[in-house]
Symmetry: C2
Subunit: 261 residues, 2 copies
Amino acid sequence: MKLKVYADRMSQPSRAVIIFCKVNGIDYEEIKVHISKGQHLTPEFAEINPMKQLPAIADGRFKLFESHAILIYLACAFPGVADHWYPADVFKRSKIHSVLDWHHSNLRRGADRRLNSMILFSAPYVFNTTIAPILGRPLNPQAAAEAEIILSSSLSKLESFWLKGNGRFLLGGNQPSIADLSLVCELMQLEVLDEKDRTRLLGPHKKVQQWIENTRNATNPHFDEVHRVIMLAKERQQHQLLKATKNEGGSNMKKPLVSRM
Amino acid sequence: MKLKVYADRMSQPSRAVIIFCKVNGIDYEEIKVHISKGQHLTPEFAEINPMKQLPAIADGRFKLFESHAILIYLACAFPGVADHWYPADVFKRSKIHSVLDWHHSNLRRGADRRLNSMILFSAPYVFNTTIAPILGRPLNPQAAAEAEIILSSSLSKLESFWLKGNGRFLLGGNQPSIADLSLVCELMQLEVLDEKDRTRLLGPHKKVQQWIENTRNATNPHFDEVHRVIMLAKERQQHQLLKATKNEGGSNMKKPLVSRM
């Protein structure tokens, strides 16, 4: 029975799992669960993942959720996945676990999963600077400021520690691991920010920018294909923001951003 | 060269690593890094862990931080660790990764690592209900209420999902894994709460209570020995709270709670 991947490409960990399958030639069926339509909250999906979050997989009768756990499982259980994705060497593997755990409490930190069940962007910085007004919610400048501190600090640590040396990938690697894929997919969420904001945040971090590009190149054409929804969302959002600015009363600001994605 | 474990027993992930070493007869040297004295922020400690967090290990020249990554490393790299701690079976192992990843975003969520660098309790619920006034900081009832929602929801998921069935441990196991140890050490932080609060939070979750006891029994006498600092802190804190209540001006409320621990 073919591997089933339950995903919404608007969710960054969903994208990481899909790209991993595509790059490694894993035969899978993508089952779209639209967060914007609340499909992850249905009793049917709770049978797959009782935590009602994406992504999740079903490999025969074996069900699994949490994207890092899924990436590790796929790397171990499917033949033909190159060692660099999740090295057998205990020292290299441990360092990858360390990056992935760090990710939870840093880049991904503050990712409010309750918010995530209502909106499509979990990153609080993106939410509080860009998405909130479109959804007819108040901007929260304090939350945005706090989220920016965490984001900037995480980007600095990526630049100065995880990407130190001359390697093209995290931990000095010359080929990507599941950690590169997971973290870069997270950062791609910044694409929906206003260009000025994005440049301000990413601008000082040249190695981070190069690493995003390296990871993209190492996994293309799949990377671009899977991120297409984000790019489309960005275009629609810019259009909607423009419209909202013109319309001071903003009666149409409560329309969901990407309800048809 | 003996394994070095850099730890502060007031930190829940430090305790998990120390108990794991003791239970599995791993020969190690515990290097105490006192968070309350800011010893984790020194340049010397940054050589061990540039993220300036605990715990961290050095096994010869190999350095590692993030407690889950450390527990997995120890289970894989040291001979004689029983399989149940981190099973070789890919399906069982994947489920353990799933619990550990879930832990980051739930029980441990909101654990503010910036706060953690200043105070000894990272759990925001405990901080905002109990610790704040002792440190001369304002209580934040809203933050406490939000943290309680996350904590209660996490406890419910533990009770109804991770502990479903008749197993004595997570995922239906009859012997503990590194996930049991990690999550139970986190919950032991609730010991410092007022008894009434603790009962209100844990009271409805009978399986969780039994599982804490099962994990304690499976790892004693080490569990109790390593948690002794928490119990001592509880006593001192109750004494200090009593004193603070009597002293309305509260000039002595700014003394750190456990400065000599």
